[in-house]
């Protein structure tokens, strides 16, 4: 049996607001296979971002277990979770989170820089990714000169730079128009496939969710098939 890239076992996430508790996720369980591409649908506040944060090890579940690369994330120290994320997880965000003081190529290379590599060691990989998303000639440009769609393509390159086993995207097209949304998502799916990364992306668009291999529905923290 092929080992799962990511497993959730009865995961709940509870927030205590002081006046009462609120379930962001309730008893969620699933296995994500290598290369599998899943869309998580749900409205705002349904728990999509919480699920992705737990999957990345950014946050820990209140109950249940999250397993990634054969390791229970709750048993890992914060440092080890950061190292796990550094090595095997790529993240794409709705608001891109590109740094204005870095050029396009420097933004893409940031995960390697954080990992301690020198620019000469990953420059060719950065350039190859940028060319793959048709931004090869924009490598030295400042970020503010890019359009929204271009920014998200740069963010996808950054997420895939270290060839992660797991790519997590939180509303990756939430800040783009329809035409750009389609293009960017198609590109992300293709790249994930090329790089051999499993993918979970959160979206509230059924149309975009339909491009995935599998669709899950989140409603008030409870997960179910569409």
């Amino acid at each position: 049996m092929v080992e799962s890239v990511l497993s959730f076992r009865g995961v709940s996430k509870i927030y205590d607001s002081g006046v009462g508790i609120r379930y962001a996720l309730r008893e969620v369980s699933f296995d994500l296979s290598p290369g599998q591409r899943v869309a998580v649908e749900g409205r705002s506040g349904s728990g999509k971002s919480t699920l992705l944060h737990l999957a990345a090890g950014i946050d820990l579940p209140s109950r249940g277990e999250v397993w990634s690369e054969g390791r229970n994330l709750a048993s890992l120290s914060e440092r080890d979770r950061a190292l796990l994320r550094r090595k095997g997880v790529g993240l794409v965000f709705q608001f891109f989170y590109l740094l204005s003081h870095l050029s396009v190529a420097e933004n893409v290379g940031l995960p390697e820089l954080v990992a301690g590599s020198r620019p000469s060691q990953f420059a060719s990989r950065v350039q190859a990714l940028l060319e793959r998303v048709d931004l090869g000639d924009r490598a030295g440009d400042p970020i503010h000169q890019l359009s929204g769609g271009e920014m998200q393509r740069v963010a996808i390159c950054r997420a895939l730079l270290r060839r992660p086993r797991l790519l997590l995207a939180d509303e990756p097209t939430g800040n783009l128009d329809d035409e750009n949304s389609q293009q960017v998502l198609q590109l992300m799916l293709s790249l994930a496939e090329e790089e051999g990364s499993s993918l979970i992306y959160a979206t509230h668009s059924r149309e975009l969710a339909s491009l995935a291999d599998q669709r899950w529905q989140l409603h008030s923290g409870i997960m179910g098939p569409v």
């Binding site: 944060h53 990345a56 950014i58 946050d59 914060e78 440092r79 950061a82 190292l83 796990l84 994320r85 550094r86 090595k87 997880v89 993240l91 965000f93 608001f95 989170y97 590109l98 740094l99 204005s100 003081h101 870095l102 420097e106 940031l110 995960p111 820089l113 954080v114 990992a115 301690g116 020198r118 620019p119």
Partner: protein, 829 residues
Amino acid sequence: MRAGRSLYFLTVLGVALGVASVVCIQIINRNSLAAFRGGIQAVSGDADCTILSRTPALSETLYPKVLGTPGVAAAWPLCRLDVALSDTGGVFLEILGVDFFAPVRMPWEGERGEDWEALAQRGWVAVGPKLAEEMGWLVGDRFEVSIGSRRVQLVVGALVDFQRLTPFASSKLAVMDISQVQSLLAQPGEIDQIDIRLHPDANLSEVVADLQGRLGPSVRILTPEQRESAASDLLEAFRLNLTALSLISLFVGLFLVYSSTQALLVRRRAEFGVLRSLGATRAQLLGLILREVLFIGMLGVVLGIPMGYWAAQANLEVVSATLSNLYLLEEIESLEIPFWLYVLAGTIGIGGAVAGALIPALDMSRRQIRALLMPPVLHQRVASLALPLFLGGALILVLSGAWYKLYGWNWKPSGFVLGIAVLLALPLSTPLFVREITASVRARRFGLGYSLKSLGARLQTTSFAVASLAVAVSMLMGITLMIGSFRRTVEVWVSGTVKADIYVSTSSFRGRGIQATLDDRFVSSLSNLSGIRAVDRLRKLEVYSGDREIYLAGVDMSLMGGEARFPLLHGDPLQAWPLLRQGKAVLIGETLAHKANLEVGDRLVVSAPAGEVRFPIVGVYYDYSPGKGLAVVDFEALGQHFGPGSAHSLALYLQAPEETDRVVDQLKLLYAETPLRFRSNRNLRQQVLKIFDQTFAITRLLQAMCLLIAVCGIALTLLILARERISELALYRALGALRWQIFWVFVGKGLGIGLLGLALGLLGGVALAAILIFVINRAYFGWTIQVYWPWAALIQQTATILGAALLASLYPALRATQSPATLLSRDDV
């Protein structure tokens, strides 16, 4: 306010330190003059004017003439004598000789009683109760003082509390019968001054004119205000320089207020947007912001005043030593904060805080509601303004430079205008400097280079921290460079001019101690000792040149190789020295040349007992003494014009200079009973440099306070960045950055700010040093200072600044590591 406690704390601290700098200096400035005024009040009481001599002494035969002048209600003669208390290691007593039997009322008449009659007995003296308590004296106790090379026994006759008459009076004031003082001075018939009280209906200027006509040109008649004004002129540069430095600290403090207000307002922009949308007017919003800033200013003032007082108190001793050593004024013994200083502190603290916050507050209140509810675009705006701001700074420099060249060069305070231009140009050039440097950095690791590069992302916040540090560093480095150059110049000058092997003076000689002469018999016995090759004598008098009080010294101009004592700045030594040896000419110090606008070829006119003497000036020598200025003639010529007199100090040249220390020990043994000081050449040089260092101690305090404010600015900026850049930090964490990496990135930012501020500050510092050395110093002191680079001090200060930047970044860095990756918010990164 609770949300930004650290920001508020640092802002209040910045304002408080700025206020403290100004308060400290104003207290010192005021009390330095108050001490002098206290001395006048204690001695002369409510005298309307005082007669002083233009020659070294005043004849008491003038006294009846004064009493006989219409309008004079009372007059009393005074003698003043500085003595050293034996076995106290340098405690001086100023003895006033008064005529207890004069039919006039003394300032301390309330103290007079039956016991005062006893003071006419030999050696009896009235001292202050504070001094008596310090020395453990009771009425009737005997104590020994030295006057020149003599020891004299005095008796505590009564205790007089001069400080009750005027709180600033020196506790080391004593009163004695005038005839006894004249006897101690061996100057019967000579007095130092006559104090006069006028009839209530007399016209002061008419009486003064009448007195001047009756007494002739050998006297000066001054009101207490004129005497204080003379002291004030003497201290003008000292006071002005310290005030300017303290204002720089306040200026740096304003940057802090601006930065923190900006940061706090940016954080609360949505709140303001909501308030505006609920109907709050722009004026209401502005009022709301300014009220908070007013509160910060008030807190700064409340903290700053005691801090300033404490700093003044802590530095009282060194400032007091400077006043008495260099300016020969009264020591400061107590400090007072007048009411107006509270008003000043309140005005500069609150006014400064409001001024610092006004631009961001106005900016925020003028914004449209929609703009308030959107993410800020401030930093992009500053980035686009970087070039115009830089050009503005450059224009200020060019215009001020041109103004100085064309008009300002002969205006005394023009150097301060140039200094202000540099201090304005620095912050204006900062955004472009930061933008260009950070943009050119290539981050090869997630370390210092990356940190430096990331500073460009928040140009407004970063620029303010860099600018405030640059201003502080420029002050620090500029003054260090000036002091270092000055110190080295003095060192070279001292090593060139202090040529004798041993210097001899009396224990009671301290510059003003004109009466502290050496006994002639001692001088001749010393000259006849074996091993002594030559003896140089120095006699120093206070004389008048016009209305200017100067020192005139007599030295042995015929001394073999004595030319080295006076390296000439102007004048031909070959022509000058033959005339000097014949007693037909004078050398003047650079300070005097500058103050009296004299040069080679002019004549120095001085008042002598027999009338005016006109000495041709044949040379101007390097002289680094502050104060009144000094001229030098041949020892014998001085005696011819001012009457014979003893030397105040001697310089001994040994046949075997390598034996100096041994000979000093021998002389100390040989003259153990005589109150003398024997100092080797090395010892004297060390003492000169010690006094030099002491003089600049208060400057170093101001430097430290200014740097501390700038360091608060770094901490404040990093705290602002830790808050504003929360999404960036979360991103790093999401990308797998470890906490220690975030920590070092933030420490790197602090170091980056430190490096950028240091680089700009160094440029500003060199400019300020040049202004201090070549413009301000020349205008106020007239010294020729050679430029030397005090590398050790500069390197030490660079390390201190970077160390301070490092320390300032530790807490914000720690705070930054606490940002969880889940805090990726909607704000741009």
